[in-house]
Symmetry: C2
Subunit: 273 residues, 2 copies
């Protein structure tokens, strides 16, 4: 038995395991062809975990690159379940205690932006997609700041360089894609260049358009949400509305992140991008 346990411990060490912050261990099964039979190791790793060889750990994560899809079935049959997946890998999880797991849920929201870009003539930068003039919109990438995504999308759809002013409002909606929820941030930007032109194949045209002309479209008038956003943008143009601006802030980690707040009424804080 001692020899068997020692052998198993050695096999566990063959895997590149590291601790997570939830009392578990993450096993990253990479594409290294020189590793011994992974199928055997997955099976044995779990036995080790159950026998307490992975001391004091509550859970085991296995990250399987898509090239290792042949190991998925074996892991699930051993009691692992899916935690999340990205195009090139699948993360599996095993929870050792009898109690309900306390692991973080998968990501639940996609995040998008819509950009109000107003020039000195009260014209907004618009593009025409399917016959209708629209604000530049887009999806915030994984790891991307909201303000950076707004500037990027404006550039990609109209060719205009701009700087971020503030978040005017945001909307949360549900079941927008499969079961996931959606957060959509309406942003105000200040143009730094003025030569507008369509940038992408799907876009029919891009131009500066009097703001009232945009708002008068039946498409905009039809929906309460768009009318409401229009009212906010108009109030902002008239200097009567304040939204949230990003302020850099450090927290528990050294990592810099941004706090979005109403800087016009908050004490001693200024937006510094």
């Amino acid at each position: 038995m001692a020899a068997k346990a020692e052998s198993r411990e050695r096999e566990v060490k063959l895997l590149s395991a590291r601790n997570d912050q939830y009392g578990g261990v993450i096993v990253d099964i990479n594409g290294d062809e020189h590793r011994p039979c992974y199928l055997f190791i997955i099976s044995d790793l779990l036995n080790c975990a159950l026998e307490g060889a992975v001391q004091g750990k509550k859970g085991v994560w296995i990250k399987l690159p898509i090239e290792r899809v042949n190991l998925v079935e074996a892991a699930v049959k051993k009691g692992f379940w899916y935690h999340h997946a990205e195009p090139n890998y699948l993360m599996l999880m095993y929870w050792i205690p009898q109690s309900a797991h306390t692991l973080p849920a998968n990501a639940t929201h996609r995040v998008g932006i819509g950009a109000f870009l107003i020039n000195h003539n009260r014209e907004s930068g618009q593009y025409r997609g399917t016959g209708v003039w629209k604000l530049p919109t887009g999806v915030v990438d994984e790891g991307e700041d909201i303000f950076a995504a707004a500037v990027r999308e404006v550039k990609e759809e109209t060719g205009i360089d701009s700087e971020f002013v503030e978040v005017l409002a945001f909307r949360q909606s549900h079941k927008s894609f499969f079961q996931k929820s959606d957060l959509f941030f309406v942003c105000m930007l200040r143009p730094l260049s003025f030569d507008i032109q369509k940038q992408e194949h799907e876009i029919e045209a891009a131009k500066w358009m009097p703001f009232e002309e945009y708002a008068a479209q039946p498409f905009v008038q039809k929906y309460e949400l768009l009318r409401c956003i229009h009212d906010i943008c108009k109030a902002k143009m008239d200097g009567k509305y304040t939204g949230f601006s990003p302020v850099p802030s450090t927290s528990y980690t050294v990592q810099k992140s941004y706090l979005y707040l109403n800087t016009s009424t908050a004490p001693r804080r200024e937006s510094k991008l």
Copy 2:
């Protein structure tokens, strides 16, 4: 050849397929044991798709419940890749055109809330977790509104019933779990009951605490982010700050969603929860 094509078309019909909004077709492979051999069907479905039998479609989704893990390897070997996974299923995708796919990315953000709950004595509802007094915090569930999550977490951690007032600020941070980003909403709530008590095993204690006492903790003073949030909350208590309140709004779909905005300066809109 005609008979072969007809046979394939029939097999495709055996699957419960429906259109998605991106020019693709979703095949939901459920756990029905009476269906014919799924392994064969996955293989053949793809052939059909490639031959144009799934007319005009650009992509094929396959949703495999975890019980059907035995089909994952076959699908990947046919060229499918992972789109996303939840504990009980894996969604696979195949993109037919040679061009880069235009499908929506997986969810990128987890969403959390922190709750400022202030009573008439300028005391805030706090709980003690690991020796430090903290605001009630928690994760917004999939499909849950931010304001509802804040009320729920306050109830779960302190036993207090409350109503939502507004979002005071929010923070976006990155790589908070695996590669996912995080949006954390600082919310103000008004208590509707006052008998505070700890509700969960992990919580050491819960009490009403003078707001200044909370803010004086070294833990709060140490971090710029917490000091900044403290400043905002104090300004709010003094009637000098306005955040974003939720206003119900309909859009393209019949589905009701909430737009969060500065109702104090926005024209003709009031928060109506």
